[in-house]
């Protein structure tokens, strides 16, 4: 447990020092403030404003940032892992769980830290047409999408030694998933479909089953991806 906490603290420190994370925060906060001001002055609907921010700003920007910070989680320190960490009294499980907790934790903490104040501001200053339940479901759906992307990124970082290649593969998978899911008749599972439906979800106009299946499936796929990462990492020669 002590090793897990030490690695978690170390990794959080690395992320806090990362320029990518700092730029990511700025790029998320500035448009959020701008949209709040516009929605307030133009009497925009809160559901549309939140949907536009999450779908057009937060999701694409965070997609790229999460891809980089998670795909680099393990592969980014391939030399250091063996020399400085796993040659000491640390198990691979402790190391990887610490990485998972740190990277997914930062992703979700950052998301909630931006979205919760934004919801408060938008519903207070724009035209409030959202329902409490719909907002909760919408926020959790985006969180589950981001969590899944982060889990997939960590899995790829245990499989690939090259960070750039892992990032490219993850982004390519993300972009091509829409086409593949449409071909399989699972359009509702695509990120585009989930994000496009967000205004309806915030208003509480989406069917319960449509929301529940997304809220169940993405976390389940995340857990599977993380177990795959753990299995791969435990077999790997360092």
């Amino acid at each position: 447990m002590q090793a897990f906490l030490a690695i978690l603290r170390y990794d959080l420190g690395q992320l806090a020092r990362s320029w990518l994370v700092r730029i990511w925060v700025v790029l998320l906060v500035a448009p959020a403030l701008f949209l709040t001001v516009v929605a307030s002055s133009e009497n925009e609907l809160a559901s549309e404003t939140l949907g536009a921010y999450l779908g057009a700003v937060l999701a694409p920007l965070s997609g790229v940032a999460i891809a980089v910070i998670t795909a680099a989680a393990v592969s980014g320190e391939s030399g250091i892992i063996a020399d400085s960490i796993l040659s000491r009294s640390v198990t691979r499980s402790e190391y990887l769980w610490a990485k998972i907790a740190s990277r997914i934790g930062v992703t979700l903490a950052l998301y909630f830290a931006i979205v919760i104040p934004l919801i408060y501001l938008v519903t207070r200053y724009a035209v409030n047409d959202v329902s409490a339940g719909g907002t909760l479901v919408g926020v959790l759906m985006v969180a589950s999408l981001l969590g899944f992307l982060a889990a997939l990124g960590i899995t790829l970082s245990t499989l690939m030694r090259n960070v750039l290649m892992a990032v490219l593969v993850l982004l390519l998978a993300l972009v091509s998933s829409g086409v593949i899911l449409q071909f399989l008749g699972l359009t509702w599972l695509s990120t585009t479909a989930v994000l496009n439906d967000l205004p309806d979800t915030f208003r509480g106009d989406t069917g319960a089953w449509d929301s529940v299946r997304v809220l169940l499936l993405f976390p389940m796929m995340s857990v599977l991806a993380l177990f795959a990462a753990m299995w791969t990492f435990r077999q790997k020669d360092l």
Binding site: A3, D83, R92, L238
Partner: protein, 361 residues
């Protein structure tokens, strides 16, 4: 008590490259064991398996009496490791890094602070304690690696090329440090291809070549081997007469010699005591009337012995293959597979056993 024990340790990467070939290594408690071999011989792979960083394809590896695996953090807590050209988190300072090592080693924070201060002083990095690691020279990185390997006060210390990339003073300092660390129930294994380092600090030595242990024994035995049979004389005067009669010093086929300017290096291949050979050479000096400037036994000593072992091992390759094929009970006419191609070539050890630990073979 055996601190490190490997039996038929074999590592084959992707069914393409044999890094370790039925390696058998035994290191007893308190030894300073030098693992010597050319680059690519399998030294680092052996260490990585001993630390649970890599899995053996076949064979077993035990450390401190227990089998090692990736999840044996408890065993690694008792081991210190310095890799070749160690890599560290670059944006940390030595203090932050050693604190981190202390934390993952399970040391209480206050004890880790005391330990890191003591170690930074011992490796002469106190002045650089507040600098980021990214600005460190190779020597400083190695010294930091030594400090990190000692944070948990290990029973077994594994040093992979500890003097690689160091300038002469850094090298001397590191050797002195290793010498200080030996004893006190601590076992040290040093991998290197710098034979001078081994000679200075090791009590025992193992020669590894192409993933196999081709010799193990005490350092004193290695020194004896190095000197055995070789007499070098530097002469002046009628050197031609001396050169013409060198072959008479022993029976045909029992002698090899070479001339390097005024120096003759004569190697006797027989099993007589060295003083007999020296006596004969001095007799020839007397008979030919040359002036003796210098005489010594042994040549480049350890290096010479090391190279001789490697050469002997190469020439015995066919014998090993034949022995391996015989133990496989191949029918006459069947092509014997090279021993390294087997996943479990324990049979090759049958031949090795004669070489390992038996310097006379």
């Amino acid at each position: 008590m055996l601190v490190v024990e490997t039996n038929d340790l074999t590592k084959i990467y992707d069914n393409r490259y044999i890094a370790l070939n039925a390696l058998t290594l035994n290191v007893e408690k308190g030894m300073v064991f030098g693992l010597v071999g050319p680059n690519g011989a399998g030294k680092s792979t052996t260490f990585r398996i001993l630390l649970g960083l890599q899995k053996a394809t076949a064979g077993t590896a035990s450390v401190l009496g227990e089998p090692m695996s990736a999840e044996r953090a408890d065993l690694r807590r008792r081991i210190g490791f310095l890799p070749t050209n160690p890599k560290f988190p670059r944006n940390l300072t030595p203090i932050q890094y050693l604190e981190f090592v202390g934390a993952i080693s399970g040391l209480p924070a206050d004890r880790a602070k005391v330990q890191l201060a003591r170690l930074l002083q011992a490796v002469d990095l106190t002045g650089a304690a507040s600098q980021r690691i990214e600005g460190f020279s190779t020597g400083m990185l190695t010294r930091l690696g030594i400090a990190a390997s000692l944070m948990n006060d290990p029973e077994l210390l594994i040093l992979d090329e500890p003097t690689s990339g160091l300038d002469p003073s850094g090298r001397k300092q590191t050797i002195e440090l290793i010498r200080e660390l030996s004893g006190r129930d601590r076992t040290i294994i040093i991998a290197t291809h710098i034979l001078g380092d081994v000679e200075r600090v090791c009590t025992d030595v193992g020669i590894i070549s192409a993933g196999r242990m081709i010799y193990t024994g005490p350092m004193t035995e290695m020194r004896r081997l190095a000197r055995h049979g070789t007499v070098s004389v530097e002469i002046e005067g009628n050197t031609t007469a001396f050169e013409q009669q060198v072959h008479t010093l022993d029976e045909i086929g029992s002698l090899a010699w070479e001339r390097l300017g005024s120096e003759f290096r004569i190697t006797f291949l027989g099993a007589e005591p060295l003083p007999n050979y020296v006596q004969r050479v001095l007799g020839l000096v007397d008979r030919t009337g040359v002036e003796l400037l210098h005489i010594r036994t042994g040549a480049d000593e350890i290096e010479e012995a090391f190279l001789r072992r490697l050469e002997e091992d190469r020439t015995r390759g066919f014998l090993r293959a034949a022995a391996w094929a015989a133990t496989q009970e191949l029918r006459p006419g069947d092509a014997p597979e090279a021993p390294g191609e087997s996943e479990t070539p324990s049979e090759s050890e049958t031949v090795d056993a004669g070489v390992s630990g038996d310097p006379a073979v």
